[in-house]
């Protein structure tokens, strides 16, 4: 009984965000395989060993999965088998109790923007039970050609450098590009043209429409010293202030992190390829080598479900272990 109490956190953040102690505990668990569930404005955090208890609570009208940072082509010590770990992520998705309707890939599909790297990922994704995959580019997907190849492969119906929106079961999804035209010394950038498009895109939506924004680099400032943030994200978020439920899904930092600010839940997904250190905990954000038997515990997929009438979407991270 005492064990059970220790494993569960209930934090009410009706006012201006999450309880700091609880947030840190959730983050600490994230590295070793935790899941955080956001429902009705209350954060619930469980250790992964108790995931089975959560099953029915995560169900809703719409369920989808986020994967990120597959870095196909990476072959260094931090993970010499990124094909194997991406396949393990797809197996994890195919084994979910509630099959997701589609997959979001939040960028760094490839490691070096090579055609064969994209081809390999596309091939592996074909084995997923969910057939639709929506992408946004990471900085590794637009190397050398300012994203031309990415656009040809994944952005046929997109605007500008690859941004777009779509609706699924009453939820409005917005895919943003913040990895192009980066300025010396700066962070990720959305740019004027994209912001203008976004303002128009949400203008006619009802306040009650749940919004999911997804982009590669975090749209909240996680750690600017390592470039983990987006220069002009405040403008994008300003357009979403009037909506009751906004969920922001990002990748790039190769670890799960979560923050709630007013109506917005920010979440970053783990990589399917290799982990990166916690902010400031190493000399650089480079790939972090962990013992081989621990690797899958720091890689993962994120399962998101929308329950009509709930304040926020339920976001559940699970490791590949």
């Amino acid at each position: 009984m005492s064990e059970k109490i220790k494993d569960e956190l209930l934090i009410d953040h009706n006012h201006d965000g999450i309880d700091r102690r609880g947030f840190l505990k959730c983050m600490a668990w994230a590295g070793t395989g935790a899941l955080c569930v956001m429902q009705g404005g209350v954060l619930k955090s469980y250790s992964l060993s108790r995931m089975s208890e959560l099953g029915p609570k995560a169900e809703g009208e719409l369920s989808f999965v986020q994967i990120s940072d597959s870095h196909m082509g990476f072959n260094k010590a931090a993970n010499p088998d990124v094909v194997g770990t991406l396949k393990a992520a797809i197996d994890k998705i195919n084994g979910l109790a509630m099959p997701p309707e589609f997959i979001l890939h939040t960028g760094d599909i490839s490691h070096l923007s090579k055609p064969e790297e994209f081809d390999t990922v596309d091939q592996i994704l074909k084995s997923a039970s969910a057939k639709d995959v929506f992408f946004v580019p990471g900085e590794h997907d637009v190397l050398g050609d300012d994203g031309q190849q990415y656009l040809e492969r994944y952005g046929k119906n997109a605007k500008g450098a690859g941004w777009y929106s779509f609706d699924k079961k009453g939820v409005h999804f917005i895919g943003l590009v913040n990895v192009l035209n980066l300025k010396a010394g700066g962070l990720g950038t959305l740019g004027h043209e994209q912001l203008e498009w976004m303002e128009n895109d949400v203008k006619h939506l009802k306040h009650s429409t749940p919004i999911v924004v997804f982009a590669h680099i975090p749209l909240w400032t996680v750690y600017p010293e390592w470039g983990w943030g987006t220069e002009d994200s405040a403008q994008a978020l300003a357009y979403l202030k009037r909506f009751g439920s906004v969920t922001v899904l990002n990748g790039h930092i190769h670890q799960t992190m979560q923050k709630v600010e007013g109506n917005v839940t920010f979440h970053t997904a783990a990589s399917t390829a290799f982990p990166q250190p916690a902010p400031g905990k190493a000399d650089s954000p480079g790939p972090m080598k962990v013992p081989a038997e621990q690797l899958k515990s720091v890689l993962g997929v994120t399962d998101v479900s929308y329950v009509r009438g709930q304040h926020a979407l339920a976001v559940v991270d699970s490791s590949l272990a």
Binding site: K76, A77, A78, H111, L112, S113, E139, H140, L143, G144, L182, K183, A184, G185, G186, L187, P224, E225, W226, G227, D283, S284, P285, G286, P287
Partner: protein, 117 residues
Amino acid sequence: MRSVSNAVLLVALGLGIAGLGAGAGNFTASAQQKPETAEVKIDNFSFGPGTLTVPVGTTITWTNRDDIPHTVVSTEGVFKSKVLDTDEKFSFTFSKAGSYPYFCSIHPKMTGKVVVQ
């Protein structure tokens, strides 16, 4: 003559910071016959040395020693490397005096500067 040896000293100093094994004596001897060269190492998401001062005509070679690709891109459009994967190199010869700030266009927090005298 005095200004030349000062410049050579500066290059040698830059190389020393970058941790190159080449002896300063050998370098000075060869520098008088061959064009000047200097190196910048990319380690742990940073350029080393961050600021490198060289004489006009020096060819600088950048080497990426990280597990992650980087680029070397002049902020003012003077030079631009292709993507450098692990252990790949990029060289550029500086034929005009001036200050040349540059950065990694993939990780823009990585910045450096070449001063050509």
